[in-house]
Amino acid sequence: MKIEVNTHEKNMIKWASEHPEAVVLSGDLGSSCEIKGFLNTYPDRYFSLGIAEQNMVSWAAGLAREGFRPYLHTFGVFLYRRVLDQLEMSVAYPNLPVTFVGFLPGIMTPGGVTHQATNDIAVLRNIPNMTIFDIGDATEIESVLQVAHDVNGPVFIRMLRKEVPRLFPANEPMVFNRGRVLTEGTDIAIFSSSICTEEAMRATKVLTEKGLSIQHVHISTLKPFTDPTVVETLKKVKYGAVTMENHVTIGGLGSAVADVIAEEGIGTKLIKVGIHDTYTHGASKMYLMKKYGLDALTLIQAVKNLTGKYFGIREEDLEAVRFEDYTAV
């Protein structure tokens, strides 16, 4: 598996070269959000709005009303928690084409609780006109701007930065509101998103070797959540489903899947792996994934609880299938 570096930076510049209406707005975190290169390439299309996110969001609404396509860059946490009223009344209500490029989704940073966007999906999923994408790899970074552009309305992207693995073929871009089936199976379903998909791929590899039949689906569109792939997957599995997300387990991917199970009357069991109703603290990504249970071993424990089967998998077995010596950002 290849590790790609600063994919969004290159992609944003390429995108702007093809879309003259695209402008970047920065909340003084440009170099931390991979848009320094954009500033150097398109200085007259890069607008610094300072450490004043509320104004930045409403200002973007004004630009969008005049035909520009603003791409707001700062940490995700400052693009929903601090600016919720501006996001809703200035942008979402009038359904304007503003793209929120939110970096450091979930527990991606030693920056600690103030910098960790751990409940953004839950907060944003109930907002009318809003579309939410959760990026899982470099291929999705390369394709998300086109998918977002095709949406008629505002878009929130949980973006990954710096070293990001390429989990999916570069010639198979993400598709709006469609999960990506990574393995097919009939015993259990695993729905994963963001950085959890890489962990889930490790776990499924080992579990499959133990004889379990797994349908693993990577999810990148969190709203809308009407993908028939999800329904078909839930209907065909024997034991139930596990969701795994870089987010709290209330209101995110797990809750979205639970809604589908209930509304479709599927009557299958669901275990939600994610951050369990707690704030988190600052540390390295791998440390936090283990501490808050977003790692492969936690997923395997969930699968054991779901199936009642004991697989005898230890940490060492998983180390063997670590794709790369890919360490924390």
Binding site: G50, A61, D85, M89, S90
Partner: protein
């Protein structure tokens, strides 16, 4: 057809009729934002007849049923901005931030021929587009302005975009003084100065009061002129009931800076019966004990 040229006396008549119409709505409907009408009638009358460069209205003369909220399937609903004419490079835009001034906007549109007088009868009537606090489908509203402090940022973003497109028309904003307490307003002034948005002109209705009392007692905003100047704006401080002064203020040079016109007003102006209620004039209800006095006053207005 060329736009009508209003004399100062005619502008004053517009203001007086707006005030009178909203007093009528207050008496008929059990209450209205009458204090805001009293403080801002001359500001709105001056803007619509003597300051703004707007094209002829493209909006419906009649009220229309609520056209639905914006959504991917409903983006072509009739916009409130239609009443300000077509978006053209040399024309002005006008954003009203305190959305509870809606009755003043509607009535000024009616007095200036941009909407019918019959449409006013649908004001605050269930199911129609003339809400007491509306959104961007409401006549005269460019955006959804009810959450205070956001419209100045949206207007400045619009002005920024218009500069990038080399448009010559200006972006006017009407603010209330209470909403200057919002931090976002100062973020917007900071950025408007930083981007040298001299195509922004802000009129502030400084009536000195807000829901809980006098602004100086709730959360003082003075010295307002000095604060705005410190944030990089050109500031004019005028009597907000003096039509000529407000028109003249719109013409001062403000190269490289936004222009702010502080309009000092009274929320009882033109209706002295309200004087004794100060500073509690956010929403005026007239009880049976005062109804006859107000009705008599209305008849002789």
């Amino acid at each position: 057809m060329p736009e009508k040229v209003y004399s100062k006396e005619e502008i004053q008549e517009v203001a007086t009729r707006v005030r009178k119409n909203i007093l009528r709505l207050t008496l008929e409907r059990g209450g209205c934002y009458l204090g805001q009408a009293c403080s801002s009638a001359e500001i709105f009358a001056s803007l619509y007849t003597g300051i703004l460069n707007l094209g002829p209205s493209l909006g419906s003369m009649d009220a229309i049923p609520f056209p639905g909220v914006p959504s991917p399937d409903n983006m072509d609903y009739p916009k409130g901005s239609l009443y300000h004419g077509a978006f053209e490079a040399d024309k002005d835009r006008f954003f009203v931030s305190p959305a509870h001034y809606a009755s003043v906007v509607y009535c000024t549109l009616a007095e200036t021929g941009r909407i019918s007088h019959q449409a006013i009868e649908k004001f605050n009537v269930d199911g129609w587009n003339m809400e007491m606090i509306g959104a961007e489908h409401s006549p005269g509203f460019e955006n959804t302005a009810g959450s205070l402090g956001q419209t100045i940022s949206i207007a400045c973003g619009t002005a920024h975009a218009r500069k990038l497109k080399n448009e010559t028309g200006k972006v006017f904003v009407l603010l209330s003084d209470g909403e200057i307490q919002e931090g976002q307003a100062w973020e917007a002034f900071q950025a408007a100065s930083f981007y040298k948005l001299d195509n922004v002109v802000v009129y502030i209705d400084v009536n000195g009061q807000q829901l809980e009392g006098y602004t100086k007692d709730v959360m003082d905003i003075e010295p307002l002129a000095a604060r705005l100047e410190a944030f990089g704006a050109k500031v004019m401080d005028v009597d907000g009931h003096d039509i000529q002064a407000m028109i003249d203020a719109s013409k001062v040079e403000h190269e490289g800076k936004p222009l702010v016109v502080l309009c000092r007003t009274s929320a009882a102006h033109g209706i002295p019966l309200l004087e004794k209620r100060k500073p509690f004039l956010h929403f005026v209800r007239v009880g049976n004990d005062e109804m006859d006095d107000f009705k008599k006053f209305y008849e002789q207005m």
